[in-house]
Amino acid sequence: MVFLTLPLWIRNRGPDRFWKVQDLLKHARHFRGRKNRCYSLAVRAVRRAFVYATKSRKLKKRNMRTLWISRIAAATREHGMKYPALIHNLTKSSVQLNRRVISDLAITEPRTFQSLAKIAKARQQEGFRAALGDGKEPPGVLSRIVMLQ
C-alpha cells in the first residue's frame, strides 16, 4: 500500500451506508424488541420475514381452499346433504362453479345455495334410481349426458 499523504491514509468508506441501513430497518420497524432498531438483529429477522412471506403465499391458497370447503360442508349439512355428495352431484350435473364462489353464495345468497343443493339432491336421487332400479325408469332431467365443449 502506498499512501503519499496523511489524508489518503485514513480509510474512506462508502457515502451511503446510512441509507442502506435505513432501507433494511424500514422493513423491521414493526417488530418487537431490539430487532426493530439494531442492524445485525434486524438483518436476520427481516430475512426470516421475507422467507416466511414467500412460503406462505403458497400456503395461503391451500388454507383458503380448506376454509371454503369447510364452509360449504357446514352449509350443505343445513340442507340435509354432505359436502362430497354436493360436489360430486354438481359436477355430474355439469355445474362448474368453484369452491370459492359456492362458499360466497352460501354466505351471501342462501336461496341460490339452496337451489344448488336441490339440484345436487335431485341428481343424487336419479343416480340411486339408476343404480338400484332395473333401468326401466326413464332417465331423469338432470342425468342426461350433456356434451361439454
Binding site: R47, T54, T112, L132
Partner: protein, 194 residues
C-alpha cells in the same frame, strides 16, 4: 339449464325416492330372498334428518316444473327483478359480480383504458326470487355482462426470498405484476327462456 325457484315453502321441485335404509350395496337387486329390511334397524340405519318421500308422480312433477319455468319467464319479461348478480368466469378465475362492482385482475388484458368489454362466460345469474344456473354456461343470448377497463397498473413490489441455512445461499428478487381494474357496468337478462 336448470331454473329453480328460491321461494321458501310451497313447492319442492325434487322428488325423493322411498329408498331402503343406509348402505344398500349396488349389487343387491330388487329380487332377493330376504324381504323387507335387509339390515336390522338401529340408531344409525336411517339418516338423522327427516327423510319423508313426497308422494308426487311424474306428471305432477313435470307440471310443477313447467309452472316454475313459466313464472320465471314472466318475471324476466316484465323485468320484475331488482338487482341481478352473476357468477362470471374471467381471467382463469370465477367472480361473483353485481352492478357497479370493481374487480382487480392480476394480469394484463389486451384492452385499453376506457374500453367497454362484454364478459361472455356466465355461469350463474341470480335475482332476489329466482336463479338461473348454467350447465356449465348460460347462453350468450340469455345473459349479458358488460364491463369497462378503468385502470391498468402494477402491483406493489413483492419480495421473493430464498434462504438455506448453513449453506450460504440466499436470493432476493422483487416481483411486480401487472394489474387491471374492471368496473362491471350492467348485468342483463334476455326474455327468452326455454
Amino acid at each position: 339449464m336448470a331454473a329453480s325457484r328460491g321461494l321458501t315453502g310451497l313447492w319442492r321441485t325434487c322428488v325423493t325416492l322411498r329408498r331402503p335404509p343406509f348402505c344398500v350395496p349396488a349389487a343387491v337387486r330388487t329380487q332377493s330372498s330376504v324381504s323387507g329390511d335387509l339390515l336390522p334397524r338401529t340408531s344409525l340405519s336411517r339418516p338423522p334428518w327427516a327423510d319423508e318421500p313426497s308422494p308426487v308422480g311424474l306428471e305432477e312433477e313435470q307440471q310443477r316444473h313447467a309452472a316454475v319455468v313459466s313464472a320465471v319467464n314472466q318475471r324476466i319479461q316484465n323485468r320484475d327483478f331488482g338487482r341481478l348478480f352473476a357468477v362470471v368466469h374471467f381471467a382463469g378465475r370465477q367472480w361473483k359480480v353485481t352492478n357497479e362492482d370493481l374487480i382487480l385482475i392480476e394480469n394484463h388484458i389486451d384492452a385499453e383504458c376506457g374500453d367497454r368489454i362484454r364478459v361472455e362466460k356466465v355461469l350463474l345469474v341470480g335475482a332476489e326470487d329466482f336463479t338461473l344456473v348454467g350447465r356449465p354456461l348460460l347462453g350468450r343470448e340469455l345473459a349479458r355482462v358488460e364491463a369497462t377497463v378503468i385502470e391498468k397498473t402494477e402491483s406493489w413490489p413483492k419480495v421473493h426470498m430464498r434462504f438455506w441455512k448453513r449453506h450460504r445461499y440466499q436470493r432476493k428478487r422483487m416481483i411486480v405484476q401487472p394489474q387491471t381494474v374492471l368496473r362491471i357496468n350492467s348485468i342483463d337478462l334476455a326474455p327468452n327462456l326455454s
